[in-house]
């Protein structure tokens, strides 16, 4: 699967901020850590603020902090702020009926894959993802 850049940046930002909800980080802090565009991340953060997951803290030393619920927010919740997860079967509309069955079958297969993808993303909370990522950090 290929996520839109905005979804991926959104996941980076949310997970980074949720890893320590007391901490405030600037757009530059997050962009530097993940090697991503500050400009693009700034737009993503505005969407996250509107969603209520992240709060913008103004003033000197301001930045962003996580204000959501890590064990209630899933990866899919974040992704769906930026895109609808659907496989698009880029098939021409058949002019004759003969092609319809094949296209319908291919669509049902992509739907099967999508449902599995969604089931994984919709049952992985931010807390679970953060706990698993901490286990990857070598002591």
């Amino acid at each position: 699967m290929k996520l839109h850049k905005a979804s991926l940046f959104g996941l980076y930002a949310v997970l980074e901020l949720a890893s320590d909800p007391e901490r405030q980080l600037s757009t530059i802090d997050i962009a530097d850590k993940y090697g991503i565009s500050t400009h693009h991340l700034a737009k993503v953060l505005r969407t996250l603020v509107r969603s209520g997951l992240v709060q913008a803290v103004r003033g000197v030393g301001g930045g962003y902090r996580f204000v959501g619920t890590p064990n209630r927010t899933t990866l899919l919740d974040v992704i769906e702020l930026f895109e609808v997860l659907e496989s698009e079967l880029d098939a021409p509309i058949p002019s004759g009926q003969a092609g319809e069955a094949i296209i319908a079958e291919l669509q049902s297969i992509t739907q099967e894959i999508d449902e599995l993808t969604k089931a994984v993303l919709d049952t992985t909370t931010l807390e679970t993802a953060l706990n698993s990522s901490r286990l990857r950090v070598k002591p």
Binding site: N71, T74, A119, V120, T124, T125, T128
Partner: protein
């Protein structure tokens, strides 16, 4: 209902859902949870907990389960219950299955339930940890389970405990029209 006479919901309201206070309360409640082998006296409690997840009583099924794992008992299967103040608030069952579909022996967790009044205090985690320890003692190195993809609560729980989609893919078809 716990010894205080208050439900979990009422207790959390009293502390005004303060995250810190709730966390402390969760920890206190978790300390009171004990895990033990199921006995025949747990039959009705288990049946009650089972209907919370699947609103369909299955007395014949549970008679068979209690007979197999409690009355007869098995060296390669475990039926545990969790309790607080002598009240059963959850159960878990697992057994070793070997060479099904070519798989080397592994522990199958095929039943798990926690009372809605005792959720989010780590009951499921404690039960799963205990049953994994017992399975490990008899040589099992992998545990496996199966959950309906729409059952977000249970799927999220198992994922939070480190379980991931396994190597085996479940396949099925309706045979109504054969």
């Amino acid at each position: 209902m716990f010894a205080t006479g208050l439900s979990w919901y009422q207790i959390t309201n009293i502390v005004n859902s303060s995250a810190l206070a709730k966390h402390q309360l969760d920890m206190d409640m978790t300390d009171q949870v004990s895990i033990r082998n199921a006995t025949l006296a747990d039959f009705n409690a288990v049946l009650g907990l089972d209907t919370v997840g699947v609103p369909e009583e299955k007395p014949a099924y549970w008679n068979e389960i209690f007979n197999r794992y409690v009355t007869i008992g098995r060296d390669d299967g475990f039926f545990l219950v969790a309790e607080i103040n002598n009240e059963v608030i959850g159960f878990i069952i697992a057994e070793v299955r070997a060479w099904e579909f070519g798989s080397s022996p592994c522990g199958w967790v095929f039943a798990l339930s926690v009372s809605p009044t005792a959720r989010e205090i780590g009951v499921g985690q404690l039960m799963l940890k205990e049953i994994c320890l017992r399975l490990k003692k008899i040589g099992v190195t992998t545990v496996r389970t199966m959950v309906d993809r729409d059952n977000k609560l249970t799927l999220s729980f198992f994922r939070s405990q480190g379980l991931r989609t396994g190597r085996y893919i479940e396949l099925e078809k309706s045979i109504d029209d054969i």
